[in-house]
């Protein structure tokens, strides 16, 4: 019995690994999602930069730090919706059928989630660097802020991957993706903004541990439900 379970687990890991390699290889060949989202982020940051500089003296004003933090997360939110919404929609029906015949549904959703986590982590770090070039700001606890950004990209990826799987089954439209995912992502983004504000102000790290716990709990819930529900979702 134990051998069967370990064999299944090995099989799942193996399938996930191969599918993940395939995802990365496809992305590496075209670099479409990566370049597209990077360009999206850079142009959004630049638009914000120009717009905010229409008001002279903005960067010295009281609310600057708050706006800085909130704006970053809103840019990241929309960038990740755009990046991840494609993860199931770009697959043709016949190709999906082929995957399902060679791999378990859990391996498919896991590989997509891991791939999106990697992509978003890379993009978030780049976006943060670009953002900090345009909007200068001193971070009280840079390491912790980076950690928050990584946690944020992880949470966005897990939630949006599952929602995009649902939305792609329900007629592939972007409106549905937004409607379905925003109520789920609002608690995540609230915790993230609180966490990153603490990191920006350099508040003692032990005070933020509770928030990190909440984020991890939300991620655990989302990944578990995704693993449980996806097998029902992909069958047509």
């Amino acid at each position: 019995m134990n051998q069967i379970i370990t064999f299944d687990a090995m099989k799942l890991v193996n399938e996930t690994w191969h599918l993940l390699k395939k995802e990365i290889l496809l992305e590496w060949r075209s670099k479409y999602a990566f370049n597209g989202v990077l360009l999206y982020v850079v142009s959004t940051v630049f638009i914000c930069y120009i717009s905010f500089n229409l008001t002279p003296g903005f960067s010295g004003s009281n609310g600057y730090k708050v706006v800085w933090n909130v704006l970053f997360w809103i840019i990241m939110l929309f960038a990740s919706v755009n990046a991840i919404a494609k993860s199931f929609m770009q697959e043709s029906k016949s190709r999906l059928l082929y995957y399902y015949s060679i791999a378990s549904p859990q391996a498919i959703i896991l590989s997509k989630t891991i791939y999106n986590v990697l992509l978003m982590a890379l993009l978030s770090i780049l976006a943060l660097l670009v953002y900090m070039v345009f909007f200068t700001n001193t971070l009280g606890d840079p390491l912790f802020y980076f950690l928050t950004v990584l946690l944020g990209s992880l949470s966005f990826s897990t939630v949006f991957t599952m929602i995009s799987a649902i939305a792609s089954k329900a007629g592939n439209n972007g409106t549905l993706m937004a409607i379905l995912s925003f109520p789920v992502i609002i608690p995540v983004i609230l915790v993230l903004i609180r966490l990153s504000k603490n990191a920006m102000d350099g508040i003692d790290r032990s005070l933020s541990l509770g928030n990190i716990g909440v984020l991890c709990a939300i991620n655990a819930i989302v990944i578990t439900t995704a693993l449980l529900l996806f097998p029902f979702l992909w069958r047509d």
């Binding site: 329900a170 549905l176 409607i179 608690p187 939300i218 029902f232």
Partner: protein, 235 residues
């Protein structure tokens, strides 16, 4: 009798066609309405007589949790069996839950006006409840966006199961982690801990049960209407 067995998917479903519990529900609700307004309550600063709102506000959420839980239970059953009836139960329970959600929000807002000063005072509990409301509105939108019946049933069942834990986190967990004015959150004592004396328990607990069954009753009536429509379309 024959008609009932024909309509019931299982033996448990007979429950919704019986009337004894509906009579009991109505009697207990009338009791909580009268006792809730007339029985003595503890005198507390700020809250004063508005503490009576506990009898009318909290039971709405209890009813909502009850019908949403039933909805998730039948969504899981639908995914396992694929029987259309389970989907009908799940959707009608979710609709009824939304109705109690609105009632809970309104009773809470009225109370907040008299104790906090504003209908909406940007309190974490209120905000979370509003977001959870959006979550279930998204469920209805998702249902309407799919035409094919079986696909709609399956995808909305999946979303329903996905939304339920998120709703629990939103309403029960997140507000407790921040400063909230709401009793029981952010370090404020719940009425249950300190101030709720036995006089209040005598009204509150029956109200919880009675309103939960009221929710089940409403959902079951709506389900039976749906079922008749479904049978009609089938023939």
């Amino acid at each position: 009798m024959n008609q009932n067995t024909y309509l019931c998917p299982s033996i448990n479903m007979k429950f919704i066609y019986q009337s004894w519990w509906k009579v009991l529900t109505v009697i207990v609700i009338i009791y909580t309405l009268i006792a809730g307004l007339l029985l003595g309550v503890p005198k507390l600063p700020i809250v004063h007589e508005t503490i009576r709102n506990t009898y009318f506000h909290v039971p709405m959420w209890m009813a909502m949790f009850t019908v949403f839980s039933i909805s998730v239970y039948y969504s899981i059953k639908y995914l396992n069996t694929g029987k259309e009836k389970y989907d009908l139960i799940a959707v009608e329970c979710a609709n009824t839950g939304l109705f109690f959600f609105v009632l809970g929000l309104i009773t809470g807002m009225l109370w907040a006006k008299y104790t906090w000063g504003e209908f909406w005072s940007n309190d974490p509990k209120q905000n979370s409840a509003a977001i959870a409301f959006l979550l279930y509105c998204a469920y209805s939108v998702l249902r309407n966006s799919i035409d094919e019946e079986q696909k709609r049933a399956k995808i909305s069942a999946i979303y329903n199961i996905f939304a339920f834990p998120v709703m629990i986190v939103l309403i029960m967990v997140l507000p407790r982690m921040t400063d909230s004015l709401h009793p029981g959150n952010g370090g404020n004592p719940a009425f249950g801990k300190l101030d709720l004396d036995n006089r209040m328990r005598m009204v509150l607990y029956p109200a919880f049960i009675a309103w939960s069954f009221m929710g089940i009753w409403i959902a079951s009536v709506r389900y039976r209407i749906r079922l008749i429509e479904y049978k009609k379309n089938e023939n």
